[in-house]
Symmetry: C2
Subunit: 157 residues, 2 copies
DNA sequence: TTTATTGCAAAACCTTTGCATGTAT
DNA sequence: ATACATGCAAAGGTTTTGCAATAAA
């Protein structure tokens, strides 16, 4: 889990905005946040940090390897803390919730396919879109009640 | 391979712009095109079709299942003809070329993982980013010489 | 004190939309 | 003739950037 010393390692000064944004990423009850979500949480907490700074900080964090940026369907980027333990994502198109998973077989096959093609992988992303169990069973998901927690634009509603 | 009759099936009138855009998607030497790429090709061919129309048509084609929209790294959407034969993608960050592949094991494992999680998959996307063999071996790739063929912003250069 | 960082507003992008005009059936 | 498509320009949403003010080292 990234912390203050990682900022220094990345050549970034330990500033209030950076610390606060890092804290939000660590403590938010939703792991996958758009820049605007981070900004709103800052506002709710009474912090005076501009949206431009949020973008700058998140981009710097990404370069430093502290966070991972995702481009899910819907246009905007979402960010999550890089906890060094790789996983892929299932995104519920109904409630917006993001589920993480890891499958060893898939990871291995990816490497193998790339190797056979002579392709040197830097990075990969696997997103599965669909409907989560919570939504299917209950008609809704506990997360929809929470304001501004959606990680992307929902298809419906 | 989609054709004129697919337009009618989708409830879309057979108009010149739609036919021309469909033709470009079928014949372009790059399968994965951003809206702007399609627009530039139209201009080069002397066609008088607005960018807004290109977006509208591509979006309609997407709804009709004629094309697939991808959100690779870099923000903008790229479109490819839906040839009904599903595949995933490797994107070269150096030359911008997109390679397609299909791996049965990966496909099966995805379904299995989703099933275990009680997640009903609509759709999925798997992108691997890295450096292609052509670039690694030759220092460049035949495709870099072709103007406006990149499917997304390159990391470097 | 020196250098990096922030805030604000403006700009840059990509994409969508309103409305009058044009085109397919 | 009617309904749908298009072009243009304008607006929308997200992300980036220039520059003066501010904070960290």
């Amino acid at each position: 889990m990234p912390n203050q010393s990682d900022l220094k390692k990345a050549g970034l000064k330990t500033t209030q905005p950076r610390l606060k944004i890092l804290k939000i990423l660590e403590n938010a009850d939703v792991r996958h946040l758009a820049a605007e979500d981070v900004y709103k949480i800052l506002l709710e907490t009474g912090e005076e940090i501009g949206l431009a700074t949020v973008y700058r900080v998140l981009t710097q964090f990404e370069s430093a390897g502290l966070v991972i940026r995702h481009n899910f369907e819907g246009g905007r980027s979402v960010f999550e803390l890089n906890d060094e333990d790789h996983h892929d994502h299932m995104v519920c198109l109904e409630c917006g919730r993001v589920f993480e998973f890891f499958d060893k077989t898939i990871e291995e096959r990816q490497k193998e396919v790339a190797h056979q093609a002579g392709f040197a992988i830097d990075d990969h992303s696997l997103y599965m879109y669909g409907v989560c169990r919570g939504f299917r069973d209950n008609g809704n998901c506990s997360w929809v009640d929470q304001p501004s927690q959606g990680v992307f634009k929902l298809k419906q509603k």
